[in-house]
Amino acid sequence: MKSNRGINGWLLFSPWILTFLIFWMFPLVYSFVISLTDYRLLDPTINWIGFSNYQKLFSDPDFILSLKNSFIFAIGTIPFTTIISLGLALLLNNQFRGRTFFRASYFMPSITSMVVIALIFSNLYARGGYIHLLAQLIGLNPPVNGFLLSQKTALASIMAMDIWMASGYYMLLFLGGLQTIPTELYEAARLSGASRWQQFRHITLPMLKPVTLFIIVINSIKSFQVFIEIFVMTKGGPLNSTFTGVYFVYETGLRQFNFGYASAAAYILFAIIGIVSIIQFKALQTKWQA
């Protein structure tokens, strides 16, 4: 009976082990292996070249530019998304009429496919699109051919769309975090005469640490993986101004079929994401513990 149950356990668990080995473990290892070769789709001879792909990447201006753009994207979006979504959560945390309605509607963009969002904003940002018209109306002098065709505004426009799209989602996470704060804490604070700002500063913010950390880490991982919006809206242009890390991997790997080189780039991105997440964990933890 006992041993029989043991066998069943493995049998039940095997779907995950199989998909894990075939679609995660193998690709992860394989990707590293081919990053050490000059594997190209159309070239039958594959040579070991050690780490020279990695070396070459760090002197490849396109790759450096793509990393730079990825960093700009992360640094430019994360603070806004975090602050806006926290603001929305605070706004919607109290009981009032219509709360569920507002919560659901702010969340709407997050359930829509990124392709569709990117299409809609391509229209709004284009010359004569509503955002373009609005910018003209308030005297901002937007680029003549629309926001996505100007080197100066293309990346910033995609970033703004991203903030718009993600805020509702992170708002929900913050709302969940706010609900875990015991109300007694606020009552005690009120009794000792703490102002609303003091309550926010000394109760709400510290109690939201874990969620905030989670959101910042998830958000930066996502920023380094931005692809769909670039593919749909600008294809990396104009003049490479929106050429980001994953787009580089796609371009070299799946358009030029330079598998070895692209895999090395993917691994560098992977390492950067790992390092950034670890730094964020450490920095935020120590800062908050003090």
Partner: protein, 259 residues
């Protein structure tokens, strides 16, 4: 009172900002370039752009993957919660680590793998890699751990077989967790773009998001038809959202806090 008015004005302003782009999509989809109300955009994309096929493909893939996840994540999560298999701690940590590996790193190897296996450009390529997902396993594991074990033991004493206990007794009890899982998997797969785009090339296996992204690349842009296509891609997921709003929202917060 004025405070209240200001608050509602502010809420409505944000509401407008959040909803406006989607409204614009719906509006364009039912207009003609000359500004008349018409369903001709929809007729056109279904007649000459094969949107019926893409809709079918999207539905098929999302539904099969959702069912796969309900069954497989349930089995795996149950094992992690209840059974002592070799290295169950190891598997639990593996599940969590896989959650953190960025997906772009496997794009190229999976592309090569699918080609070598002869599965490139087929439904298999769209379905197989996603049949079990680590978040789902984790969700079920957490849920099963909170269930009392006595029911399973009682059934075992009554002589029920393992599979019967698993699927007839434990699975129905897990319905809330599985519902959340199903909704999330359906939404993710319905909206998924990168892998369907990379792993298929022919029209026969194209899904809605891929079809839309490719449509933009062609000729001069017809925003009206493009927005009609977008509406087709968005309406099913909005319907799911309105029906399961509560579960979706609790699912997202649970995913973040149960760890």
């Amino acid at each position: 009172m004025t405070g209240k008015i200001i608050k509602y004005a502010f809420l409505l302003l944000i509401f407008f900002i959040m909803i406006f782009p989607l409204m614009r999509m719906f509006a364009l989809s039912v207009l003609t370039p000359s500004g008349q109300l018409s369903i001709s955009n929809f007729q056109y994309i279904f007649a000459s752009n094969n949107f019926g096929l893409y809709l079918f493909n999207s539905l098929l893939v999302a539904i099969v993957v959702t069912f796969g996840n309900i069954i497989f994540c349930f089995m795996c999560g149950y094992v992690l919660a209840r059974r002592k298999i070799l290295g169950s701690k190891f598997w639990l940590y593996t599940v969590l680590i896989v959650l953190m590996v960025p997906i772009h790193i496997v794009i190229i190897p999976i592309y090569i793998l699918m080609n070598k296996l002869g599965l490139y450009d087929s439904y298999w390529a769209l379905i197989l890699p996603w049949l079990v997902n680590p978040i789902g396993i984790f969700l079920v594991r957490q849920y099963v751990s909170t269930l009392p074990i006595s029911l399973e033991e009682a059934a075992r004493i009554d002589g029920a077989g393992e599979l019967r206990i698993l699927f007839k007794i434990v699975m129905p009890l897990c319905r809330p967790a599985l519902a959340i899982l199903a909704i999330q998997v359906f939404m993710t797969n319905w909206n998924s773009f990168l892998f369907p785009f990379i792993l298929t090339s022919s029209e026969q296996y194209r899904t809605l998001p891929v079809a839309l992204a490719l449509l933009l690349g062609y000729q001069s842009i017809d925003w009206y038809q493009l927005m009609a296509g977008s509406v087709v891609a968005v309406v099913p997921i909005m319907a799911v959202f309105f029906v399961f709003q509560r579960q979706i929202i609790s699912g997202i917060t649970e995913g973040a806090f149960k760890q």
